[in-house]
Amino acid sequence: MSNMAGSTSYLSIPPSNHSSTGTISYRDGNPVVNFVIGEQDRYLLGSTVRMVGNMAIYKESDGAGFGTVPAITDDLNVSPKLSAYSILDQVVISSQKNKSVIEHVKFMNRYLASYLPVISSKEEAIGHQNSQSCMLPNVETNKLGFVCNQNGVSAVSRLARGNAFCIDLPTGFLNSKEPIGLSGKGWGVGGLEISVHLAPDQQVLNGSWTNAFYQLTDVQLVCEVSNPSIERLGELSRQTQGSMEYNAISSYYTTIASSNAIINFRLGLRRVLGAFINFIPSQYLNNITYDGLQTTPLINDLSAGTIAPINQIVWQRGGVRLPKMYNENANVRTNGNSTISDPEFARSFMSAFKPFMSTTSTQQSPATNNRVGFDNMEDFVDAGLMFGLGVDYSSISQTGVDFSSENFGVQMETGLTKDNPHSAFLFVRSVQTLVFNQNGLQVIQ
């Protein structure tokens, strides 16, 4: 390596478990895509990591390794909040050298189904996100432009199939501002192995085509690494250990099916900055008939679309109210006919991602976060319902709240009176410290 202080280099990394056909799909038995960023004397710029490729959606197999692209009249779609992001089920980042897991984000697409619409505007989704993840925040337009994309159907001048995408992997570790040492000599993590677990077709797609599937081609990981100068490399070679801090995302899953819904987890995390929950009728999950990436309010009657209110919520730590020292009562508690989302709930939800006052663009609005009933998978304003509950601890403690020995709890008084269980996905943002030396690494939660 030359003395290129401050220089960076681009990397293009194919999957280490590349299939012989060059195609990757959950249906054909390739549910995990592995990328290895080898051990080297460089720093990875985590925010530059992108998974790229082409994504085609087929309503059925053509028997020749590919499939038949849906016609515009076919009932098949992907969540317009996510498009290409919907394929991300789990992302596991571990050290290449010693295989220790650094971060493991589960239910990634459920996480992004709330995260992306809260932090980006509709205009950003139509523009920037559309060019990167093919997202169009409208059910019908997303279907016509993304799902029914006829690129590659004809063999004449076919260069690729489906939609080109280039998506980031928004984990806390990769999005930390610190460059990630890739060395295994004491000043890095010893290379990285990034495993992307693909989501099942039934979760990604929704419609009436029961054998529909998605398929990836030309998949790569692109990223940028920075090259330390020779002088800096000399200093680093004498470094036998190091550490870095990042905001990790931890994921939890439970179900609720009562008017007194309780969510209780032992997080084991010391510096929790915020948490949010999104819901979906359990029947919608991994069921191609429904959009499994909806973030709906609680629903009493799926066929009639009757919304079950959340009348009250109490956030707790170890059985004590925190951060709010009172029960939060929703507007619907005193006015059962209200279709307006409770503003305090909405504000707390948005604050779980970043401070409410610094959120300058969002898709959250009375049109997308409300209590209006629905009875189909299509008639949603913009990208669909964006309901969730959240709590921000960074406003009471910049260093985060200690949940290592106290349980995290949420108590909700709901109107969920029918036998209709709901899945609740809890995502917790916390500060974690990675400590490493030439013998291995440890994550201090």
Binding site: R50, E123, I126, G127, H128, N138, T141, G145, S154, F380
Partner: protein, 465 residues
């Protein structure tokens, strides 16, 4: 930043750097409306007063004097009037931007849609903003599901009775017949002013801004309303309205004196752009081509390229000629653009870039800002649920390549990241389009070069690094 934080080691006058204003500093501002000292349909020159600091977002006011409902091109607005901008101090050319109007096609990508709709429509006539067209009632769609998206202005579509067609007229405020004037920020003409402001009071030489206007006969100034108005109108610049609204910033006399003494001999670096332009045929673009674009012996941070499809008449296109063409489709199959940059015997990317989403990502990374352009506008992909066809703007179909937005924002940027001076071989650009339309193309590359400036006893000089 604290007032005492001045760092003599950098030799950069800190009051010249935008943003570095001490919190307890008293500041005063004086605005002067300058008439050009030379003013014609092809050229104008402004001479600035040597006082205070020149505010980088001082404005140049321009307008055209024509009847009718034509407008400036939808993506770059009034910037279409300026072909070249030069900032001179004495006889030294401090900054010069060739094909400034085409350059603004690139820079305008990075303006937020809402900003265009709410502000730029009225200040520069740039109106690029998107929204879904919900009025289309074909297929008995609901009121929330759209088949396509179009421009989002402050006007509503005139919808045909059947509901399957509509047209969006331009806003009256931007029609040339209503004689609007618009403002161009000095920092847009000379990008280094985004980060620095000129200490005019320290400069003893004449400071002038020269604008070379886009020739009338090229029809590259404005666009006409399709079908309702004929092509070929020569849009005159209203010379009576051409002004420079200069804002001068003053601090306390003690502070100004202190700055003048501390920075009697100052040097700093800034970026300037050099244009490389050439013509291509369809056949040349479809071959794997490597072209020299210059930069030998210089420090180059970035290369920005655009491929203008030469379609006549220029004024019969929503974007006029301020486009960058994506590879064209073959039937419904997307085209492919393969590229790399070669300098100092190395390729910038380890594998040639071919994925259109990665091209977009490279653009965003190079500019460190998000481009507000859709997939179909960038690369023609995603047909079907994309740009509107029967819902037009000024009777132009947004989905059309030849008159609309489809595949006409395919600007490509390369960030040279090895922190090296380019050797005597210069930079080579490798490019290949799988398919392009059978017209002539003009390819532009702007090289972002690092220059050093020196202000010594009131005399200004600059040199390329």
């Amino acid at each position: 930043m604290d007032e005492n934080d001045e760092d003599d080691r950098t030799r950069i006058p800190n009051l010249m750097q935008l943003g570095s204003i001490p919190k307890d500093l008293t500041m005063d501002q004086d605005t002067e409306t300058l008439d050009p000292v030379v003013n014609s349909q092809t050229f104008c020159r402004f001479v600035l007063s040597n006082k205070g600091y020149l505010h980088s977002f001082s404005k140049i006011i321009l307008g055209v004097d024509n009847a009718g409902s034509g407008t400036f091109p939808v993506n770059i607005g009034v910037h279409s009037l300026i072909e070249r901008a030069t900032l001179r101090i004495g006889t030294t050319v401090v900054a010069e931007l060739d094909d400034f109007n085409h350059w603004m096609g690139y820079k305008s990508l990075f303006i937020d849609n809402q900003t265009n709709k709410e502000r730029e429509t009225y200040t520069t006539s740039r109106i690029m903003a998107h929204d879904f067209v919900l009025k289309n009632n074909v297929n008995a769609q609901s009121n929330v599901n759209a088949s396509f998206y179009g421009l989002n202005t402050n006007m509503e579509y005139d919808v045909e009775t059947a509901g399957d067609e509509g047209n969006l007229q331009s806003q009256p405020e931007i029609r040339t017949g209503n004689k609007p004037t618009f403002a161009i920020a000095l920092a847009d003409l000379f990008p280094f002013l985004q980060f620095n402001q000129l200490p005019l009071f320290q400069i003893t030489q004449q400071v002038s801004v020269e604008l070379h206007f886009t020739p009338q006969a090229s029809l590259k100034r404005c666009i006409h309303v399709k079908t309702d108005e004929a092509s070929g109108t020569l849009f005159n610049i209203d010379e009576t309205k051409t002004k420079f609204v200069a804002d001068y910033i003053y601090y306390s006399p003690e502070k100004m004196q202190e700055q003048a003494e501390i920075h009697r001999d100052s040097t700093w670096t800034y970026n300037d752009y050099r244009l490389n332009k050439r013509t291509f045929t369809q056949g040349q673009l479809q071959d794997n081509t490597i072209i020299d674009i210059g930069g030998a012996g210089r420090i180059i941070n970035k290369v920005i390229t655009a491929l203008e499809g030469v379609r006549d008449p220029a004024d019969s296109h929503m974007l006029n000629r301020y486009t960058s063409s994506a590879p064209s489709l073959v039937g419904n199959n997307n085209g492919r653009f393969t590229t790399n940059l070669i300098y100092n015997d190395n390729r910038l990317y380890p594998i040639d870039r071919t994925n259109s989403a990665v091209h977009f990502y490279d653009l965003v990374q190079a500019e460190q800002n998000i481009a507000n352009v859709t997939r179909q506008e960038f690369t023609s992909a995603g047909t079907g649920g994309g740009l509107a066809d029967d819902y037009t703007y000024m009777n132009y179909e947004p989905v059309s390549v030849a008159e609309g937005l489809n595949g006409n924002f395919h600007y490509i940027a390369y960030r040279l990241n090895r922190n090296e001076r380019v050797n005597s071989r210069g930079i080579q650009l490798q490019l290949q389009y799988s398919t392009v339309n059978n017209i002539t193309y003009t390819h532009r590359s702007w090289l972002e070069m690092v220059k050093t400036a020196r202000l010594q006893d009131g005399m200004f000089s600059c040199d390329l690094m």
